[in-house]
Symmetry: C2
Subunit: 568 residues, 2 copies
């Protein structure tokens, strides 16, 4: 790398720059306009905008040049990809940096999981900034693989790639002033403090903000988002695979408040990333919804960089990293080229990143025990049972009541009424904990589906029409050292191994997408009509999200955050 003095000489025009991007229509997110410009780059940074000489000239011939996009909140584990394979998926879509919350890694592996993320995200044409998971385990109502305290967070907060403390999902803990939660905010040491407060309004929301939380990505209604914005929260407009709030929230965004907005995907499947896109999709959709392109581009770049203090990211100006996207049509906004620190790293959808050193996988994390009898549910004297009802494309669930189907004194699945058995088996420390409940919405006519991705504790979760297939799924997941599987009639119809923490595949992007498609096809063949049945399954044990959930500790009233019985 050159000395700054040498680069200043180039900026002054006294020596040729390395590279000149000529004849750009620059999306200048700092001055809020699009104007013609030539941009000189040396050592991966913009060194000047103007009529420069350079050793190599890239003539953009009037194409648009914008800063690479930044995702303000993402759980990279939701892609089930390693860091290099995730880069392969999103870099062609123009993503240059991602603020990730390695919440799932941390739930399974604790600090070792965060260290693995930091290590395995180096050397890629995509920058990762880490928010330290603040709710591991998510609640006391589930058994995770690790527990992180404020002291643990304090160990890592000073790392230059750590941007703050991740979503404080235990929002009642925060607004009620629990010392453990306030200590996590203090551990942030002035860095960003992310929130997570679905539906939180009024005085409790005020208390949540007063405690120090300064962002939220969980608004699903316009008025909720408006209230959060008014109280000073940075709004992450979420558009993931399942949670899609952008269309609802976009009308709130004006040029007078857009600086307090970012795009985020939260959770997005590998296939969706590849086919639909990443933050580029958010920009496209926002423009379609009527947002001014420059505003959408600001939300996709500089606003996020500023909120999370990602120095020299998010704009095209001297000293900023030369992280660029090139596109030809401002409204269609299809990324044609992506540059990382001045290097072309994707073109026409093709990833051009080089090979990276593979960081050794963490230890195997599938460690469970259970007996067949644990899956059985004895029938009670009388009355209806509580059934988890899926809300399509949402992570919230509803509680509905139904008469149980009883066979030989046991409550069993009743596919004819779409009431299936749901099982959660603890898989970190072989406690033998097994939770059993019932769920409506999968519409399986036969077989069972299972996953070791199961927010947030990531125990084994299985939905099925019969116990034999449920047991067969669990057997397969152990065999895979973690993964997802579809079983019918005792046969494995499709499977995806996720040996990295039971969350992430060690295989290439294409293979992961293909196997996920296989799993979905298998589920569909078994009668399931959900778009993303395994993602839906993986959220059924997420105890902090209303209304009714199932963890290894049993049925959870997720409104009042307490265990609850099966019978109403």
């Amino acid at each position: 790398m050159r000395q700054l003095q040498e680069k200043l000489k180039m900026a002054r025009g006294e020596a040729p720059a390395e590279l000149l991007f000529k004849n750009a229509r620059l999306a200048n997110v700092l001055s809020g306009e699009i104007h013609p410009a030539n941009i000189a780059v040396t050592d991966g940074r913009v060194i000047g905008i103007g009529d420069y000489e350079a050793e190599r000239v890239i003539d953009l011939e009037g194409a648009y040049l914008a800063p690479s996009f930044i995702d303000g909140h993402f759980h990279v584990e939701s892609s089930m990809l390693t860091m290099p394979e995730f880069a392969r998926a999103v870099v062609p879509h123009g993503t240059g940096a991602v603020v990730i919350d390695p919440h799932e890694y941390a739930n399974v592996l604790g600090l070792d999981g965060i260290r693995y993320v930091l290590e395995s995200s180096k050397g890629l044409p995509l920058d990762f900034f880490i928010m330290l998971p603040s709710c591991v385990p998510a609640t006391h109502l589930e058994t995770a693989g690790a527990r992180l305290t404020a002291d643990d967070l304090a160990l890592m907060i000073a790392d230059e790639r750590v941007a703050g403390v991740a979503e404080l999902m235990n929002y009642p803990g925060v607004y009620l002033g629990q010392e453990s939660e306030l200590a996590k905010i203090r551990a942030g040491k002035g860095k960003a403090i992310d929130g997570h407060a679905p539906g939180l309004r009024g005085k409790n929301l005020n208390a949540y903000v007063l405690a120090g939380v300064r962002s939220d990505h969980e608004s699903t209604e316009l008025e909720e988002a408006e209230e959060k914005l008014r109280l000073g929260m940075h709004l992450l407009l979420r558009e993931g695979s399942t949670e899609r709030n952008l269309a609802t929230l976009a009308p709130l965004v004006t040029p007078h408040n857009s600086m307090n907005c970012s795009f985020a995907t939260d959770d997005k499947l590998a296939g969706d990333l590849v086919t639909e896109g990443h933050i580029d999709h958010c920009v496209r959709k926002s423009i379609k919804l009527g947002m001014r392109p420059i505003t959408a581009l600001q939300i996709a770049t500089i606003n996020t960089a500023r909120h999370y203090r990602l120095r020299n990211f998010g704009a095209i100006a001297p000293r900023y990293w030369a992280d660029f996207v090139v596109f030809d049509d401002l409204k269609k906004l299809v990324v044609r080229q992506t540059y990382k620190k001045g290097l072309l790293v994707a073109e026409n959808g093709k990833y051009l990143g080089g090979p990276v050193e593979i960081v050794p996988q963490p230890r195997s994390t599938i460690n469970l025990r259970y007996r067949a009898a644990d899956l059985e549910v004895k029938a009670g004297p009388a009355g209806k049972i509580k059934v988890i009802k899926i809300v399509p494309n949402q992570i919230v669930t509803r509680q509905v009541l139904a008469a149980p189907k009883i066979v030989a004194g046991k409550i069993v699945a009743d596919p004819s009424r779409d009431i299936l058995k749901l099982v959660v088996v603890e898989r970190h420390r072989a406690t033998g904990n097994v939770g059993v409940g019932f769920v409506r919405g999968f519409k399986l006519k036969s077989g069972a589906l299972g996953s070791t991705v199961a927010h947030d504790a990531h125990n084994v979760v299985v939905v099925g029409t019969n116990d034999a297939d449920i047991r067969r799924v669990i057997e397969e997941l152990v065999h895979l050292r973690g993964g997802q599987a579809a079983v019918a009639g005792g046969q494995v119809k499709a499977a995806l191994g996720l040996p990295i923490a039971g969350l992430v595949s060690d295989q290439p992007l294409d293979e992961v997408i293909e196997k996920i498609a296989g799993l979905n096809a298998a589920a569909a063949a078994m009668g399931c009509e959900l778009e993303a049945p395994f993602m839906t399954l993986s959220f059924l044990s997420l105890s902090p999200i209303p209304e009714l959930k199932l963890t290894d500790q049993g049925l959870i009233d997720a409104v009042h955050l307490r265990k609850t019985g099966l019978y109403a």
Copy 2:
């Protein structure tokens, strides 16, 4: 102070807040709108917005409530007031925080000057944040009382009230990559780095930004400001006593870039602060110029707080300080009340701040020697001489040529052509340095005016029609231990003592204003038509500002930053 837990209880509405501001029309600079609100305050912070109970209720009856204003760049010495008396001047105008560059204190007293500023600005109903002076002395072409290196800045940068490194006035030094200047930027340790680059454009401006400078307050033309904004500089829209750029620059501001703008006064006299106002004047003027009120209010508050990372300043939302202004008309915008941390500190123009402990004054700083002959200028063989021409209301000067008036082989002042003698005497270390030149623009018919405020080295500067009165002025300034004086016919017509560093009065606001008025009246009686003759005088030795200046080292070509001869 209460524990956070107790305040959270109030925020949740489970205990009454201390104070409720009821029926406000809240200028919400975060959501970019004005909406009705009730704001609860405890221990000086906003704890909630909503329908709260409180021990004391202030009914605003529909008046506007906005965050207190913030000045993004100010030299408090320009008011010639102590910190408490400065607060008395600006708090009634709604100022809640000021980012100050104690450049003059530092030029005279070095680190002791900065420490004095930090100490003497505590306990006031006005928050001061300090930018560490980066150019002491301003150039090698003048003799200041101190020299600050990057190592000196590094000693103080971590102070929580230090917001960064102040204006890098040696902009050629920066863009040319002088190690001493780059070291000062590195000493900023990631805090804000302020620029100062009048007229700097094109490639050298790119280099200046590349070096790490991220703001500027010196733009006097629209295109210049546009270029700076496009390159990522935070624009400080300056409106001081002399430098008034707001009307020129306001057309550049759009809702799409206003987040990168702040208001600043740079230098403003006590009388102007009292009668015209401070940042409230900038807001009023911007609205008159056609800016949307909420945009002007954002520029006056949150934008500045964010750029300088003044935590919990600049907005009204939970956790922010309860620094409020109340006004009744959004367009007239006359501040009726100012609150500091929930306390009423000014009302209807009257300052209500309590008495503060007086911090001991620094040592006396007037230490000079010269002989009468030093003031004389021998005539050369022939030719015209260079004369500094004042540009009214600007700190730039022009160089004009004129035939010298020669008497007894000496070049003397010629009031009939408005060519007066200008003298600068070094006053810090009694070097005996005396610079002599000529100036056009004062129009004195008799007498002399002198000042120990003389940017940036603050040596003694005197303009006069004859040497006797010039000497009498110097005598008076020594007697006052620093100050400003007007002398005619050997008589002191008016004087203001500035015993604190030779820059600042130890007297109350009213008396300072009265004495300044007396000085101006005396100057006017002597024929001067300038609005602020002593401010104009004080900028004539500012060597980094074009075109022609005079320091204790002689005439300075301020375009090329080198000494120059009197004859053309």
